[in-house]
């Protein structure tokens, strides 16, 4: 049994000196290493693609850092990859900026970095530039990560909300609410314990399969914070159209439903990290659905609704009882209710 004290991140690890270099050599380069990154220049010089570029950034904070099905590292890669993918871009390059809290076990950082490396590999992207800062204990919560991403867009495959058309079919790529409820149960604080696994996954392979199946994917979004309902409202608003979904068609796992009912949550507002929503021309909907179901992350894809006739942007749901109700945007976070 080893008695060496656990190695921890120290302020000097972010100082740019010898310890910074050691962290780079010991933790980051062995996992992320590629010819662009290994040069360790002040910026990476990349090959531009033939068409347009998609460029996005996102910052990741999550409590706890590790949850069933993933950790902050898988979120940081998938979130940015998926933001590129749903615009029809092929994700290629990521940056990774870390803000570490003094005292963070190096083992924890290593586990997160390892996951990022694996996830990036699975998504076919390279992490080509990065940065690390360390802040004093209490000034951050373990690890904060920012990633930015660049993807190539083939000019034939543009996706944009404004192309949402009347008669389109709305598809969702997988079961809803797993990520949000996995994180909440991992907190244990709410007295909910479950086997729910986060859905965090890169979606670029799925998007590729969908775009190969049809040139008529009119809009795509990944249903992250605010869940399905928020994404549908954004899509409806941008196009000025009415989307109607059917409650009975929504893929929601029993354990997610149960956890939501205990907390007074509505699963359509719970975050996903590996689920996309697409609006597809009616004639191609079955072909796209079939293509989605042929990819692991899309195996449980479903048609959940359609873009209706009529003016005024709104989202409605036909309930399991056959009644209709508004599905509004979420206001702030869902809060567990008293009784």
């Amino acid at each position: 049994m080893s008695h060496t004290p656990e190695k921890k991140v120290r302020l000097a690890h972010g100082g740019g000196g010898r310890l910074s270099r050691q962290l780079l050599d010991d933790v980051f380069l062995p996992v992320f290493g590629n010819t662009d990154l290994n040069r360790l220049n002040d910026s990476a010089i990349l090959h531009a693609g033939p068409g347009q570029l998609a460029f996005t950034t996102d910052s990741y904070v999550v409590d706890p850092l590790f949850f069933p099905g993933g950790n902050i590292g898988s979120l940081a890669v998938c979130g940015t990859v998926n933001d590129l993918a749903v615009m029809g871009a092929e994700p290629r390059y990521l940056s990774a900026g870390f803000i570490l809290e003094e005292g963070l076990p190096i083992d924890t950082l290593q586990a997160v970095v390892h996951t990022m490396g694996e996830t990036a590999k699975a998504a076919g992207v390279s992490i080509v530039t990065g940065d690390t800062k360390v802040v004093a204990r209490g000034q951050a919560d373990g690890i904060f990560i920012n990633t930015a991403g660049i993807g190539y867009i083939d000019h034939r495959s543009r996706v944009s909300e404004s192309r949402l058309c009347e008669g389109d079919v709305i598809l969702v790529s997988g079961p809803l609410g797993c990520h949000g409820m996995a994180v909440i149960s991992a907190r244990k604080a709410l007295g909910i314990e479950s086997e729910i696994q986060s859905d965090v996954a890169p979606l670029n392979g799925l998007v590729k399969a969908m775009m190969n199946a049809s040139p008529n994917i009119h809009a795509m979004r990944d249903a992250t914070r605010g869940g399905l309902a928020s994404v549908l409202n954004e899509m409806a608003d941008q196009a000025g159209l009415h989307i109607e979904i059917k409650e009975a068609k929504l893929p929601i796992r029993d354990e997610v439903n149960t956890a939501c009912e205990l907390l007074g949550f509505d699963p359509v507002y719970v975050a996903n990290e590996g689920v996309l929503v697409a609006s597809v021309a009616q004639e191609d909907a079955e072909a796209v659905l079939h293509a989605m179901q042929g990819v692991t992350v899309g195996a449980e894809a479903r048609i959940i609704g359609r873009v209706c006739q009529g003016t005024g942007s709104r989202v409605t749901m036909e309930t399991t009882l056959g009644t209709h109700r508004i599905v509004d945007m979420l206001s702030g976070e869902q809060l567990p209710r008293i009784c």
Binding site: A189, G264, L321, H324, P336, R337, C339
Partner: protein
Amino acid sequence: MIDFKPLRAAGAARVLADKIAEISTGQPMRFMEVCGTHTMAIAKYGLRTLLPPEIRLVSGPGCPVCVTPNAYLDHALRLAERSEIIITTFGDMLRVPGTLGSLESARSEGADVRMVSSTLEALALAETHPQREVVFLGVGFETTAPTVAAALLEAQRKRLTNFSVLTAHKTMPMPLRVLSEDTLQIDGFILPGHVSAIIGSAPYSFLVDEFNTGGVVSGFEPLDILESLYRLVRQVKQRQPAIENQYTRVVRSEGNTAAQALIHHTFIPDDAHWRGLGMIPGSGLSIVSDYAAFDAAVKFDISVPASKEPDGCRCGEVLKGVIEPPACPLYGSPCTPEHPVGACMVSSEGTCAAHYRFLNRTLQ
């Protein structure tokens, strides 16, 4: 675990809705769902659209967040200003506006306000932070009061000196008396299932004896509510008001006597201010003197001005079922779920929030 699917079956719902329409035969009726969870379920499942137009559902004062007065929030906010205090609360109290702001805004200004899911979590926090004072906001009806009572017992057993409860607990049957004495013309009540699980169905008998009004203790699934409505319509048509129990899978007529004993051991009935309804004698719960050491109102010397409703706010009339939310001049602007002015907009179970979320735009 209960399988809820049969209780959400579309076919059975249609059958029940048809039966309601068949026996109501065009006679106008007004029923009040007392509990916020019923309000939510009715809106979420679009149950109003299944009912014949002559049956009107009005929402009552059963959302604990909504009826908690400004002065209580102000009291909590004053406590939160003290650096030694950690305020612990159920989630949906965070955004409730007092006159001094909300707990959420206080937190952003540095107050230590933490969301917990149980009183035991707050107790654990007190144990792990012996140098701090942990105050739990005891809000809710007979449903949550026993859990606070259990925490008081546990705090005494562990001889904790840094745990206390700021109580705004309320009890259910009394406001129904106030509503019945008012000229609201309620033809029957959908009685709260969770509260009744604790108090049983017997305490509602005065509704029949004194006001000739019936009620049905109801579950929260769509078919539960429709069946309860069917029973209420039948009572009205047969002129035989009664207290019925539809929620027999959970509620017994005598209730949960162990939970009742816990409440009686640690609390005494007290006059309570209800937002919108005003002072109702004997409708609140205060901590008994044996447990005064755990009563934050006694422990900390804080004075707050009396409750005052925001100008123009008609939450009171909404809570009584006198007006529908859009009749309030603040509804939609400036009062929205993002920026609630009145309490009914704050909790997801609040009448205005449910209305705004599910019905605010015309369905075509």
